[in-house]
Every structure is written in C-alpha cells, then in structure tokens.
C-alpha cells in the first residue's frame, strides 16, 4: 500500500514537472528564439498578397471549367473551399484510392476542362496534393499552361518561359526534393510584367 501511494505521489509530481518543462518551457523558448531570429518564417511567410507557403485558388473554385486563363493555375485543390467563406482553412487531402471510380471521374472532368482551353495537362494539374493547400507546381506544370496564358494576356510565350525559369526554386542543396514554382510568386511576376 505504501509503495502504491508513493508511486501515485511520484507520478503526480513528475507529471506536473514534465508538463511545465517539456511542454510549456520548451515551446515558449522555441517561440522566443524563432520570433527573435526568423520572424518572417515563424509568422507564416506572409506578404501583402498571401503566404508563399499556402496555396490560393486561381480558378474561381470551378472544377469543370477554367475560368481565369490570364493566370497560371495551381493544383486543383490548392486552396480549401472553406477559405473562401472566411473560416480558417483546414488542410486535408482527398484520400481517393488508385482504383476509385470517384478519382477517375474527378480527373476526367479536369482533363476535359484543360483541353477546352488548349492545354494538355500534366499529372499535377489534374490530381490533388497531400496537404490540399500546396502553393507549388513543377516547372513542367507551368510550361504546359503557356499557350493559354499567352493567348489571354498577350505576353509572348518566350517571355513566359523566361519568367518560369526565373521563378523556379527548390531542390535544396541541388538534390533534396523536387524543383518547383510557387504559383503566387509566378503570377505576381506576371502581373508586374503586364504593367
């Protein structure tokens, strides 16, 4: 009995100390250091037009038509629809199986939509991402959209190609992960070019 009580007492003390130290002290110290040295990143890499790490919808939330051919588009789910309603956007993936009838239908609708604006879409442009809020597309995904964007904006294909290669980043240290374009930054650069 005495050992049981001693164990309970030890547990209670340890729980309090661990919660304070490994929960709050650790996280508050981390927040302090981050805010001191990397404030921009720690606050979410936010600029006037949005965060370079969170996707935006450039398509007017349509899944059957491309409504705004004057912009480069991200992946179809790059901005959760909830965001439009002013509720904080929740990250989520579609989680459809590789032999899902629903996935087949969704992708088919997007392929048709892209063909209508003269684009033969890459995989990324018709499939959803893991986070549901990714801001990135691959350089190839941007390149296939050039005919559409060029026609809608009047900017020549050659200048758009140069723009894409200028905005390409990623593959840290040359080999980690893949090369990608942040759609927001690409479209900001495009808007500057048109002015």
């Amino acid at each position: 009995m005495a050992t049981a009580l001693l164990n309970i007492r030890r547990s209670l003390v340890a729980m309090v100390v661990f919660t304070v130290f490994f929960g709050f002290v650790y996280m508050f110290a981390g927040t302090g250091v981050s805010q001191l040295f990397f404030r921009h990143q720690a606050d979410g890499s936010v600029s006037a037009e949005g965060s370079t790490l969170i996707g935006q919808n450039w398509n007017g939330y349509s899944t059957t038509r491309i409504l705004h051919p004057q912009w480069f588009h991200g992946r179809p789910d790059s901005d959760d629809p909830l965001v439009a309603t002013g509720k904080p956007g929740e990250s989520a993936s579609a989680n459809l199986a590789p032999r899902s009838e629903e996935l087949l239908q969704d992708v088919h609708a997007l392929v048709v939509a892209w063909h209508k604006v003269g684009v033969d879409p890459t995989t990324d442009l018709v499939t959803t991402s893991g986070s549901g809020i990714t801001p990135d597309i691959s350089p190839a995904d941007a390149l296939v959209q050039i005919p559409m964007v060029s026609k809608a904006t009047g900017v020549s294909a050659a200048r758009l190609r140069a723009l894409i290669s200028h905005e390409t980043r990623g593959a840290e240290l040359g080999f980690l992960g893949s090369r990608y374009v942040v759609v927001l930054q690409l479209n900001e650069a495009l808007a500057k070019l048109e002015k």
């Binding site: 001693l6 990250s91 990714t134």
Partner: protein, 583 residues
C-alpha cells in the same frame, strides 16, 4: 539521380549517428553523462528516489503503469476542459468525450493516431500541454523499457534492472530535448510557423481571394514528434503541410530524426552488452528489410496511377502524384512514408490512401512485421530482441543445444515471454479487423469501396496496435466504435508487449553469464542475421497473408474501378469465412 543522392546522404548521416549517438546514449543510461546533474538532483529529491535506488522488474513495471494511467487521465481531463483554459485564440470548445479518450490514449502509447484535424480541434494549450509533452514522455518510456531489457542481458545475478524515474528523466533531458531544440531552429529557418498569435487573414488583390490561415507553434512540435517516433502533427495533414514541412531539406531532416534513435539503439545495445557485433547483427537485419521495402515502394510510386491514366492523362513521367506534394516528388515521398511506417512514427508527407496498390502494401506490410525495422524509439529494440530470442530458440532446436543469447541461457520462461510479446500484435489486429468488418458500425468507416475499403480498416488496426498512428486517412475514425476499439488496440499493442519485455528483463538479469565455447550458436554472424530476418518475415507473412490478399493484393490484381461501399461487405464475408477456416 537526385533520389540516389538523397539515399547516400541519409546512409552517411545515419551511420555517423549510429556510432556516436549510439555510444552517447549508452553513456547517458550508464550515468556517465552528468552536465545537467544540477537540474536532475532536486527533481529526484522531490520524487524521493535517485540513481542509486534500483528497482526490480516488478517495481519498474508498476511505476511505469501507474505513471502512464495517471498521465492519460490528466490528458483526458485537459482536453475536456480545453474551452476554459488559456492559449486558445481560436476559441475552440471542449474536445468530445470519445475523442478525448482516444487522443489521450493515442499520445500516451506513442501511437499518435489522430481522429481529428489539429488546427480546428486542438487549442494551443492542448497542443503544448497535452500532445507535445506526451511526445517527449512516451518516447522516453519506450526507450527506458528497451534499456531495462538490455540491462537484463548485461547484468549477471542481479535482481534489479534500473530506476524507471531516472531512466525517463535522463532520456528526455540529455537526448530528446537538445536534439529537438536544435532541429526546431533549423525547421523554422526553412519556413515552419512558430507563433502563438493565432490565425492571419490576407486578401490577394490579384485574384480577389481572401484567406484565413491557421498558424501555431508547429515548428518545434515537428522535431520532437519525429525524434520520438510519435508522428502526430500540429495540422490535419501532418508533415504534408507546408507550415510544418516547408522544403526538401526539412523533409530529409525529419527522416533523419525519425530513424536516428531506433537505428542507433542497436549500437547502444551492443556497447552495453560488450558486443558491438551483436548490435551490428540486429542493425543488419533491420537495414536489409528496410532497404527492400524502400526499393519496391518507391518503384511502385514511380508508376502511373491507374485511375489518372484511365481518365485520359497520356503520360505520368513524375509517377503517382495523386495525394503527393510537388516539392517532395514521388520517390522521396515513398522513402519518407516507408521510414514513418517502419519506425512506428506514422507521420505522412502525402496521402498514403492514394498510394498505388503495391506502394500501399509496402506501407501496410512494413507495420505488419511488428515495427522492428527499425521500429519505434525503444519499442523497436525491445521487440526485435524478442524476435532474436525466438531466432536463437529455433537455431538451438536445429543444432540440438540449449539456446543461449549473449551468454544467457534461453529457457522455457524466456521463450514463452518472447512468443507472447510477438503474438499479441497479430492476434489483436486480426480479431479487431474481423469484428470491424462484421458489424455495421465498423463497415461505416471507410471512404473508398471494394478491396481498398477493406484495406483502410485493416490498415487502421495494424497501425494502432503497432502504436504507429499512420493512417490510410480515408477511414472516418471519429465514431464511438473506432474511438473505443482503437483505444483498446493501442493499449494492448503497447502494454501487452512492455510488461512481458520487462518480465524478460527481470528473468535475464537474475541469470549468470555462461562463457561461450566452440559449440555455442553464434549470434553475431551472417547466419544469425538471416535467421532473424527469416523469423520476422515468416511471422509477419504467415499471419497476415490471407488478410493482405483480400486488401492491397486484390486491388493490385483488379482491373475494375470501385465506387464507395458495395463490395466491402463481400470482403467482410470472405474474411469471416477465412477466419472460421483458420480457427
């Protein structure tokens, strides 16, 4: 080519950590690392214990269980009163009872199965004071059990196996805290968020989009969740979220953090039992299986997605990108997810549910092997030691000698405890999956139809019983059935292996070490590595093959596309029949 470089860097970094982190951990648990003793001593005085007060295995286990039970209760309580606690800028209300119970058990058992989306369920107080704390503590408890078992091998004629309170404190203070803190700074510098300021609203004048973006102290939660092979992230999509895993560099860092302690513990083991070769043998068994799984899973994900191909996408040169992030790519995502399923971490950087059939099989089967390649922090080592004892026993039967492992005679009691520890997981997984597909509440869970729906259920129980927490996220788990049954799976998968492991530690510590002779069965050579790999594969393969055949293998061989549900009940019936036959 980039993928090959990633592998090369990973191997080099892990090799260095194996040697140096491994020996550092041995020093910590031997009490030779003292630089924070000034912080340790007053704490031990408060607990009325200390490094000189050694415990028998029963005392050790009792301390562990009382501590765990009370800590789970505290977690449950804090989640239930979340609405009245500070640090809640989004004004989130109390977490519902079933979900609070499931979450408290999930983080206590190092599982981090999440039946909720973090950013719209958990306040900052809960993320910090309940979840992050358990990511330290549950990791330390796992490592402590492994070290206790190792002491069973290294001591002779001893009735004690260490002091639970000292072991977990030293583990957190000297190992987990410093590494996690440094990694946190790197992750934030790459773009992870670390703020207590709540959401931010931005308006883009170019496209007219207004966004309210959730933020929070995610940057320092990621490193400890990975280092402790916990895997339960701040945001719903875990490490696919750009605010938690912003670049290819952080992605690799998270893989390294996850794999470093489980692999390095084999060196710690070798060092403590004075046979680094024995530790290297276990490492080799882990690496062989891990490497094969990385190979075929990455290959599978580099193949086209059948639904996307059928929908009219002419070529998929970048592999199956459904549910994957562009900044990581197909093969690196596969490497990440294999590392997370085989370490009991369970974090994801994409949607596992959308993996090709064989890729999904790679993730599922990695867990079915018992989480020993390399397994969770601590749990990987103590579980592979159970496999090693069974391997020694089988080897002993072949040559007709009383088996020994590291000079300890392996007798009936040891083999029984090891066998029990190994069989708990498959029994719990198969019985609970059988129940789930047989009743309506269980069948209501899966999102996808056909054999894939069955896989979602099987995956959920495999993941929870192995304390992994990885999810084929299509399963809607926040129902009474999955909340309660899942918690039972997690508790059994954790404590029904910990207790026999500690009992084994006690039994072994009491024995003498017999000196080896020419007839001794060697446990540090290629032959033994092969035997351990064989036992792991055969136990996993034989117990799970029928279930896997109904799930991912059926999906892989199929040429049809399935809508939600109808075929699932067939899978359920087939499974019940099979179960009846097997019995």
């Amino acid at each position: 080519m980039d993928f090959l470089w990633t592998i090369v860097v990973l191997v080099v970094v892990l090799a260095i950590s194996w040697r140096y982190l491994g020996s550092y951990m041995a020093a910590v648990f031997d009490g030779r690392v003292q630089f924070l003793a000034w912080a340790e001593r007053p704490f031990y005085r408060l607990l009325r214990t200390g490094p000189d007060q050694e415990q028998t295995w029963k005392r050790y286990a009792t301390s562990l269980i009382v501590f765990s039970a009370l800590f789970a209760a505290l977690g449950y309580l804090l989640l239930r009163i979340q609405g009245s606690l500070p640090l809640n800028p989004q004004h989130l209300g109390a977490v519902p009872p079933g979900l609070s119970f499931n979450t408290a058990i999930s983080f206590l058992t190092n599982t981090n199965w999440q039946n909720y989306g973090g950013e719209e369920t958990m306040s900052y107080f809960s993320q910090i004071g309940v979840l992050t704390v358990q990511q330290f503590v549950s990791a330390a408890v796992g490592i402590a059990v492994a070290i206790a078992l190792v002491r069973g091998f290294s001591r002779r004629g001893s009735d004690t196996i260490g002091n639970f309170w000292v072991d977990i404190t030293r583990c957190m203070l000297y190992i987990l805290l410093p590494i996690a803190f440094v990694a946190g700074i790197i992750v934030v510098s790459q773009g992870a968020v670390m703020t207590l300021a709540g959401t931010v609203t931005v308006h883009d004048s170019l496209n007219g989009v207004t966004q309210t973006i959730p933020r929070g102290p995610a940057g320092f939660m990621g490193p400890i969740m990975q280092l402790g092979t916990n895997g339960g992230g701040f945001f719903d999509v875990d490490l696919a979220h750009p605010f938690e895993n912003p670049t290819g560099l952080t992605n690799l860092l998270y893989i390294v953090l996850t794999l470093s302690i489980p692999f390095s513990l084999t060196y710690t083991f070798g060092k403590m039992v004075k046979s680094v070769r024995a530790g290297a043998a276990l490492l080799a068994a882990m690496v062989i299986i891990f490497g094969v799984w990385v190979g075929f899973t990455s290959y599978s994900e580099h193949q086209p997605n059948p639904a996307v191909a059928a929908a009219g996408v002419t070529a998929q040169p970048t592999g199956n990108m459904e549910g994957k992030e562009v900044r990581f790519g197909d093969t690196t995502s596969a490497l990440f997810d294999v590392a997370m399923t085989q370490t009991s971490d369970g974090a994801v950087d994409g949607a596992n549910d959308s993996y090709n059939a064989i890729g999904g099989f790679g993730l599922l089967s990695g867990m079915m092997l018992g989480e020993v390649t390399p397994g969770g922090v601590g749990s990987g080592l103590y579980t592979i030691l159970l496999f090693a004892i069974v391997a020694v026993f089988i080897g002993g039967l072949m040559i007709g000698r009383t088996p020994e492992y590291l000079g300890k005679k392996i007798q009936a009691r040891e083999v029984k405890l090891a066998g029990f520890g190994i069989l708990v997981m498959p029994i719990v997984v198969l019985v609970l999956t059988g129940i789930a597909v047989s009743i309506h509440a269980g069948r209501a869970g899966p999102l996808n139809g056909g054999p894939h729906g069955f896989t979602e259920i099987l995956y959920a129980f495999t993941s929870q019983t192995n304390n992994n927490g990885s999810a084929f996220a299509g399963l809607t788990g926040n129902h009474a059935f999955y909340n309660v049954v899942g918690s039972i799976a997690m508790l059994l998968g954790r404590f029904a292996i910990i207790v026999p492991s500690l009992a084994l530690a006690g039994a072994l510590a009491a024995k003498n070490i017999v000196s080896s002779s020419a007839g001794t069965f060697r446990t540090d050579n290629t032959m033994f590595v092969g035997l351990v790999v064989g036992v792991i594969i055969i136990v996993g393969g034989l117990t799970f093959f029928p279930a896997v055949a109904l799930g991912p293998i059926a999906t892989a061989l199929s040429h049809k596309f399935y809508s939600v549900m109808p075929l699932l009940s067939h899978a359920g019936m087939a499974f019940s029949h099979l179960w009846a036959v097997l019995r």
